[in-house]
């Protein structure tokens, strides 16, 4: 049995209570949601919080709400709920692609979208997904709320712009017409962190050209989306040649480091290969969405 260092524990009863507790206990307090990153780190004594603020009673943060122009997801929504949501599958297939390869069902039953984003692991799949969907993070603190873009939210590996007394409460995904998205990950084994993964979201104009596109890579040292690869596609009819060019540029932009999952050249190769694959699939899905819309129209 791996034993963490000593800590105190308290269950928050409301969002305000959670924020008050964070405010009271200061920098050495940590929020525990699903606990699937924090608890292993504590057991290995890599994390040694003095206080754990448990927010698992905050059922008001567990929701998936489709609205006309956006999808609202509560920070305490479990991976398994996202994976099982028909709304999510219809609007953002990339989330389903990613959720299917996040850990295993046991972890997905406990882990939350908010926990994943706040952990900010560089190999975290949902960070890339939120980046390419241009999601917004809704944050609450003692002084009220603020809305952050993902660029503003993420500061770097294991680092967010949340103050110690702020809580991520919601993630909002804008809904676009004629759009498609996809995610693909290479892992050594199911449940392992990504060797490399890629995500893409594409919106087509009515003439079938690319209206907007976002490309993100997981576990290769990049934050945010890859503008230089996206540029080659904007305004163009999507073609295999352009996917190849985008893949090449994404690989060039990537900054992988060698580790047990693979050397740099392999990870660069995957950045290229997976970028092409997710662009191809996202465009296929956007076209399918377009034809569905047309039929419905």
């Amino acid at each position: 049995m791996q034993i963490p260092a000593q800590f105190d524990y308290v269950r928050a009863s409301t969002i305000d209570n959670a924020i008050a507790l964070l405010d009271k206990h200061g920098e050495e307090a940590r929020v525990v949601a699903g606990g699937h990153s924090l608890l292993p780190m504590m057991k290995l004594r890599l994390a040694r919080p003095e206080w754990l603020i448990d927010i698992n009673d905050l059922f008001e943060l567990d929701f998936i709400l489709p609205e006309a122009t956006r999808l609202r997801v509560g920070a305490m929504t479990r991976h398994s709920a996202l994976l099982g949501s028909a709304d999510v599958a219809r609007l953002f297939p990339i989330v389903i692609d990613a959720e299917r390869v996040i850990a295993d069902p046991i972890v997905r039953n406990r882990g939350t979208i908010g926990g994943s984003l706040c952990q900010a692991d560089p190999a975290e799949d949902l960070a890339t997904v939120c980046d390419v969907l241009r999601a917004e993070a809704i944050v609450r603190g003692p002084g009220g709320g603020r809305i952050l873009s993902m660029d503003e939210f993420h500061k770097g590996p294991y680092e967010t712009s949340l103050a110690h007394n702020e809580l991520l409460v919601e993630i909002r995904f804008p809904v676009r017409p004629r759009s498609g998205s996809a995610y693909e990950k290479v892992e050594r084994r199911v449940g392992d962190w990504a060797v490399v993964a890629a995500g893409a979201a594409v919106s087509l104009a009515e003439d079938g050209t690319v209206d907007d596109v976002a490309i993100g890579l997981t576990a290769v040292g990049l934050d945010g989306t890859i503008d230089e690869a996206e540029t080659v596609l904007r305004g163009q009819q999507p073609t295999e040649e352009l996917f190849e060019e985008a893949g090449r540029l994404a690989a060039m932009a990537s900054l992988p480091v060698a580790d047990q999952r693979g050397p740099v050249d392999y990870k660069r190769h995957l950045a290229d290969e997976l970028t092409r694959r997710v662009l191809r699939r996202a465009c296929e899905r956007a076209l399918a969405a377009q034809s569905t819309t047309t039929q419905e129209g």
Binding site: Q2, I3, Q6, R189, V190, W193, V195, Y266, L270
Partner: protein, 797 residues
């Protein structure tokens, strides 16, 4: 799951269609396991029990300058802190290993691997013990480590075992088998010679339950009760008596339910000894249970063989000879568990399943700054390494000769009429019908159809591979005259008692770690004496309640203890005949046996059941001269030879050309373990071993960085396969009974672990053949496969 049954005559099993003992029955032990009522070492709580925790070295090689325990001792709840200096005073700082070496219990002079035991804290609870570890101040003078075994014997390499007087290098042993000159002569005139370095990287058995112990020393009687995760309780008792000086009759070792062993729980770890010392020092019971990282970093690893293989053949594809030089990394202490005569285990079975003219192997063992171990993970004493070598070499030869690998194997397999077959390194294979097994596996796989599919896919640029492995196992160690472990002969006892009402208890020396002994051994007795398995209790794991024997490893339980149990049951059956004769007032020679009953020849209506005979034995019947009033017996079985199970495995993989990701699509496993006692248990063993094989072939690897840091110290870094990585296993079997085993059984526990990795690896290399790849080493992770696809395959070590 597809099950293809091929029935062969199985005289030892009696009427195969109406088994009393043998057959597919549910496991007797499972009701407690599926209800969560198993009782493991960590479930044991004794009054006044204290908890121990081990401080481990963060560095691989360092001089111990000083150690200050005062802050730890002052921590609330801490009762004692033991260091190497304390153990020196007790003459317990060093303990013998299972390979005639010694291992430090706690560091006294020098740290020799990362994770080595430095100090032992004993506290009122495990939390205080763990917290206090951080309060021990140790000053290390870090030394250059020896990590790469290829450089362990370089002149000027740091000497790891400098505490041994006169030692100037890291050499442990050189060991040879076969005939070098004859082999060289065959090679000199052969048409075709192929060479390949084949690396079997270091892995770890990673049983679900880690190692642990609860020691309870009773000072007035001077008696020690030790509950521990042991695969060999009797051998451990003898060793504890020798090491500790506590008389053997005052030591009781109990191995309760064990959550997996795979060879990881054969040896005696410092933690067990420290729990005992802790109990003696404090006068209270002491529990020590390691955590996952401690298990992965400090307990018995497996493999770590670098093998230079060479195979010689005629241009028509007749294999003539095989030779190999092996560099074996044994870590910082030579602590492998294997028969004394064989420092490389049974590696010299590397001639495999083929009829060769000559063979020679040489194995060199070296010390490195890594955890000790070497024989673990269901390897059948290094048969895993041997099978990987020969099965890769045969595949490489097939490629060179442009022959189908199945065809090349069929051409060279030992033929049924050649058994018993004496190979060129001294083994006598007891029995086999190899061609039948290989042909069955090919039929189940649809081999020709698979090759056609592969051809089509290759034309489209898809990477599909078909891999074959044919293995011969070497299990059931072993004959006392050849085999011992630290001087203890490898024979097993068994005791059987039939209670007056006809219920039975059989006591065995081998301890189950999940193999289903409580069912299998009851079935063997049931078959022999004709009472149902549910009326037979199997007692094991407690040295006070069971006869002496060497323990469960090397797939030896059924070949050795299974034989002992069959023989003790026959002894009881024979005794029952005399008692039945007395009861029936007839002569024993006038009686005939049918399952469960002796009856009068020619008059089946007159007879006595085992229950009636048992009551008679304990009752008032006048017993014949020399027959005492019970229905009990005991035996000790010394096997005349090992048994040689075998199998033919075929694996189909698909590789993503863009990512190098390997998907095992199909796996066909035909096993022949002789007489089959419980097919369900056999299939379970095979499924588990095949899953292990997927792990070894695709992901498992205990890697070190150049400073000697273990990079596989958690399940985030050391990957073991899940249900998602394994296909629907397709198992089949043939039955070739062992001629010398009382019931013809051969053992099966490790067959699949031994046989499956080469099938998967051969499939991967076959898939990559269109890219010009002729070899790559395991693990076949996506990155390593992709490197091979680029023509840049590298050994893992």
């Amino acid at each position: 799951m597809t099950i293809t049954e091929v029935h062969a005559p199985n005289p030892a099993a009696g009427d195969a269609d109406r088994p009393i003992g043998y057959g597919r029955i549910q496991r007797k032990e499972d009701p407690r396991f599926v209800r969560g009522k198993g009782h493991y070492v960590d479930d044991i709580v004794l009054p006044g029990m204290l908890h121990g925790a081990i401080l481990r070295s963060p560095v691989a090689h360092a001089r111990l300058v000083s150690i200050d325990t005062s802050r730890a001792l002052a921590h609330p709840g801490v009762v004692a802190v033991i260091t190497g200096q304390d153990l020196l005073g007790l003459k317990l700082a060093w303990a013998p290993t299972l390979s005639a070496d010694v291992q430090a219990v706690l560091v006294t002079d020098k740290v020799r691997f990362q994770g080595q035991e430095v100090a032992f804290v004993i506290a009122e609870d495990r939390y205080a013990a763990r917290d206090a570890l951080e309060l021990i101040d140790v000053d290390y003078d870090v030394l250059t480590p020896v990590i790469d075994a290829r450089h362990a014997l370089d002149p000027g390499a740091p000497v790891i075992r400098d505490e041994i007087e006169g030692r100037t290098d890291n050499h442990i042993f050189d060991w040879e088998a076969g005939n070098a000159a004859e082999t060289d002569a065959v090679f000199a005139s052969a048409d075709v010679i192929v060479k390949q370095e084949i690396v079997y990287p270091r892995s770890h058995p990673a049983p679900m339950e880690t190692c642990g112990a609860v020691a309870d020393f009773e000072p007035i009687e001077g008696a020690l009760t030790l509950y521990e995760t042991s695969q060999a309780p009797h051998a451990h008792r003898t060793l504890f008596a020798i090491v500790s000086g506590i008389p053997e009759h005052k030591i009781r070792i109990v191995s309760p339910d064990i959550g997996g062993g795979f060879g990881n729980k054969v040896g005696i770890y410092p933690g067990y000894i420290l729990a005992v010392v802790g109990s003696i020092v404090t006068g209270r019971p002491v529990k020590w249970v390691e955590d996952r990282s401690e298990n992965l970093m400090s307990t018995s690893f497996a493999r770590d063989y670098i093998m230079q293989g060479e195979i010689a053949a005629t241009k028509e594809g007749k294999i003539l000879a095989l030779r190999t030089n092996v560099l074996a990394d044994h870590g910082a202490f030579n602590a492998t568990a294997q028969p004394t005569k064989y420092p490389a285990g049974f590696f010299h079975i590397f001639t495999g399943s083929y009829d060769l003219e000559a063979a020679h192997c040489k194995v060199t063992g070296v010390y490195t700054n890594k955890a000790p171990g070497g024989v673990a993970y269901a390897c059948s004493f290094r048969v895993t390494e041997a099978v990987l070598l020969v099965e890769r070499m045969v595949d490489i030869l097939a490629r060179k000769l442009e022959m189908d690998p199945a065809e090349l194997r069929l051409k060279n397999l030992i033929k049924p009429e050649q058994f018993p077959y004496k190979n060129k390194t001294g083994w006598e294979y007891d029995s086999g019908n190899y061609e039948r097994a290989l042909r069955l596996s090919m039929e189940m796989a649809g081999y020709d159809e698979l090759r056609r599919e592969q051809k089509e896919k290759r034309a489209r640029g898809e990477l599909m591979g078909i891999g074959i492995s044919f293995f011969t196992e070497t299990v059931g160690a072993g004959p006392r005259k050849h085999m011992d472990i630290v001087g203890l002969g490898m024979a097993d006892g068994a005791e059987l008692r039939i209670h007056p009402t006809g219920k039975a208890v059989v006591r065995i020396s081998v301890q189950s770690q999940g193999q289903g002994h409580e069912t299998t051994f009851a079935q063997i007795v049931a078959e022999e004496i004709g009472i149902p398995p549910e009326d037979i209790d199997v007692v094991h794991g407690d040295t006070d309640q069971t006869p002496f024997g060497l323990g469960t490893y090397g797939s030896r339980s059924t070949p050795v203890s299974g034989a002992a149990v069959a023989l003790v049951a026959r002894k009881v059956r024979e005794k029952a005949k005399f008692i039945a004769a007395a009861m029936l007032e007839t002569r024993p020679e006038d009686l005939e046996w049918e399952k469960g009953r002796w009856f009068v020849k020619g008059d089946p209506s007159v007879g006595k059941t085992m229950a009636e005979i048992a009551m008679g034995a304990h009752g008032t019947v006048t017993l014949p001269e020399g027959i005492d009033g019970n229905l009990d017996a005991e035996v000790t079985y010394d096997p005349p030879n090992l048994t040689f199970p075998f199998g033919a495995y075929i694996c189909v993989v698909d590789i993503d050309p863009g990512t190098g990701h390997v998907k095992v699509r199909r796996f066909i496993a035909v096993d022949d373990c002789g007489t089959r006692i419980n097919p369900m248990i056999i299939e379970g063993q095979v499924h588990g071993g095949l899953t292990d094989g997927v792990g070894m072939a695709l992901m498992q690897f205990i890697e070190f960085d150049e400073s000697g840091n273990n990079l596989g110290g958690s399940f985030m870094d050391y990957l073991i396969p899940t249900a998602m990585e394994v296909p629907n296993w397709e198992t089949g079997f043939t039955v070739t009974p062992s001629p010398h085993h009382p019931i013809g059984a051969k053992g099966v526990g490790e067959s699949a672990t031994v046989g499956s990795p080469p099938a998967i690896l051969n499939a991967v290399v076959d898939a990559l053949a269109p890219l010009g790849v002729t070899h790559m080493d395991m693990p076949c992770t996506p990155a390593r496969v992709w490197a091979a696809m680029q023509g840049r395959a590298t050994p893992p070590i």
